[in-house]
Amino acid sequence: MAKSKNISDFVIERDQNRCIKCHACVRVCANDVHFKDDATSEVASDDSKCVGCHFCEDLCPTGALVIRKNPSETRENAHWKKEYIYRIVRQAETGGIVLTGMGCDRPYKNYFDHILLNAAQVTNPSIDPLREPMELKTFIGRKIDAVNLDDLNWKTTSIDEIMSGLLELEVPIMFSAMSFGSISLNACKAIAEAAKLCGTYWNTGEGGLHQSLYPYADRAIVQIASGRFGVSSEYLSRAAAVEIKIGQGAKPGIGGHLPGEKVSQEISLTRMIPQGSDAISPAPHHDIYSIEDLRQLIFAIKETVDYKKPVGVKIAAVHNVAPIASGIVRAGADFITIDGVRGGTGAAPVVIRDNVGIPIEIAIAVVDQRLRDEGIRNQISIVAAGGFRTSSDIIKAITLGADAVYIGTSALIALGCHVCQKCYTGKCNWGIATQDPYLTRRLNPEIGTKRLCNLLRAWSLEMKEMLGGMGINAIESLRGNREQLRGIDLSEIELKILGIKHAGESW
């Protein structure tokens, strides 16, 4: 019978000439891949345990290690690929659901790679962002329809009051929901501090707010999910904004379980549950079975925070996303977060992650269009999430109609993540998706903050270059400005849904 323990995704090549037997790899790998062979006193490896996170390879002082994809293949078969065969083997052995981490890794069409940006030539001048001011500032929240200046008493009302409750972002990029529990406290700290320094916001996820993150609460968007973990009036009142989590791109429509063994003392304090008990987030919120019920929770929160903070709703991008978004606007939300099929996760069943939902590019386009058609687009901000890899993905998302984006995976990559997809094991060698103190120590929050700030700075510079190239000096003028986009290698229906012309068509 096939034995799954023989599956080895990677092979470890150790150049014995270079290896100085320092045993660093033996000590660091949380998956216990490397060991000292007592017979030969050489260092050896059990390849089958390796998840391909490249930590040891990065750490090896002499460059003796190379982690390679296992070249051993089953007979080539476009349908019965190796991963499906071995998934069946694992399930035949355990009878359980196969979990995974991070976002969908299937080669579905990536629309960002089929959209091209415009640039100004002759008839309108491009702008040099190094010399001219470029505006990336973005406001998230419900914008008032009109201000009647005659009615206003400027002695008693300030512009701040009129704008109150809007989130002010220096860059249209926020850090998406990653709970303490799914990632380490050090990772949370690095992200929260970076948000504060860079004038943007971070999101607590559904795990509550750890006391040591209180100093960053005024830059936090706090989540309310179906399990209501860590949710209290204090949690709501400390935050900058509240996000009701209905769904996420990596696992639309299903709940989540944080197994009891991961509920450590610190996590129990933030989630407000006993140590060691399972944290079960039911699939739906049991007080939300309709748009009317959603409105009820939105206004229960608004009442609690005296209408001073924006309340948003996060949904996964699904087939009916446009009408659902319209309902969310009408339910009174101030922003809507849409998470596409490539959105990441700490743990999700692989069949759900890889097969449910739609790409974020399409979701942004159809939601923006629907809200415009209904004349309600101005009432809400759209925050897009789900797999932004570069600043050009973000510029394209904003041009399709998003107000801002959330980044999760790319932020973690800045902190060291190598997208090995094993976050659910709790053994992240990079100290991110783990609570093991031996591993979390590897992530220095100060250095992490610096790296995240660098990433945001680099992407801001690039975004300004792209804007200037189009002859535009404010991101506001690019929002939903789809004339700046052209499709390449797309069918008529795809162009229609994205609301863009094909390359070669002029204005």
Binding site: G96, V98, S232, S233, S237, S277, P282, H286, D287
Partner: protein, 243 residues
């Protein structure tokens, strides 16, 4: 004591008024002619405030409440005590669905019956232990996903004590029912036991309080034996994953 006439008043204005009074240091507020206004007491943090409501408050009464006492002379609608942290809600009537949804602490006393999904996902934490005592009967899915705390169902006025699927997904806490085990379908995660002496000790103070609030006889409550519904495992979904 201050009085507000809520007749015809929009909920937002009513809640603003109550909040303003509470902030000014009022310890007891009476509101008359309450008729469907939602979110009364939402997120209230006023530890020694008492609100007396006359009429029928709307959904989400006392949502996120953290230490106020609300007495309702009438019935309440859905979501009473939703995600409540501490405090007390006493209802001299019936309550609707999802009463005590995700409650983490505090007490809810209902004189009459409650609707579906009562006490869903109730949980406890440290010394916070939510308690709900219901004088009448409860609808289906009582204590679904329950993770902590206790629910006591007395069935003092006859009728079917609880509906089907009680304790579905339950993985913590206890549901005490008075009388014979009802002939309903229970969630497969639970077992039912007779009470031990120490169980009676646990529920006694709450029964005393119930009897006090609603002026009924404690002896009568004790005339009938109780049973308790407890989860068989704290990990109902522990074994569904592959490695």
């Amino acid at each position: 004591m201050v009085e507000i006439d809520a007749g015809g008043m929009y909920y937002r204005l009513l809640n603003e008024k109550i909040k303003a009074l509470a902030r000014s240091g009022c310890k007891e507020i009476t509101v008359r002619n309450v008729c469907g206004q939602r979110y009364i007491g939402a997120g209230f943090d006023f530890k020694d405030l008492r609100i007396n409501l006359y009429g029928t408050p709307g959904n989400d009464l006392g949502v996120f409440i953290n230490g106020t006492e609300i007495l309702v002379n009438g019935n309440v609608q859905d979501g009473t005590g939703n995600t409540m942290n501490s405090g007390r809600i006493v209802v001299y009537g019936d309550a609707g669905d999802i009463t005590g949804h995700s409650m983490r602490g505090g007490e809810i006393f209902i004189k009459g019956n409650v609707g579906y999904r009562t006490g869903i996902h109730m949980k406890e934490y440290k010394d916070m232990r939510p308690v709900m005592v219901i004088g009448g009967t409860a609808g289906e899915f009582l204590g679904e996903y329950m993770a902590g705390g206790m629910i006591i169902i007395l069935g003092l006025n006859g009728g079917n004590l609880i509906g089907n699927y009680a304790g579905t997904g339950m993985h913590g806490g206890t549901i005490y029912i008075r009388g014979k085990t009802p002939d309903v379908i229970f969630g497969k995660e639970i077992k039912i036991f007779d009470l031990e002496e120490k169980d009676y000790k646990t529920i006694m103070p709450y029964l005393e309080r119930f009897a006090n609030y609603f002026d009924c006889s404690l002896e009568k409550i004790y005339e009938t034996k109780f049973r308790k519904i407890v989860p068989v495992t704290h990990r109902p979904y522990g074994k569904i994953y592959s490695y």
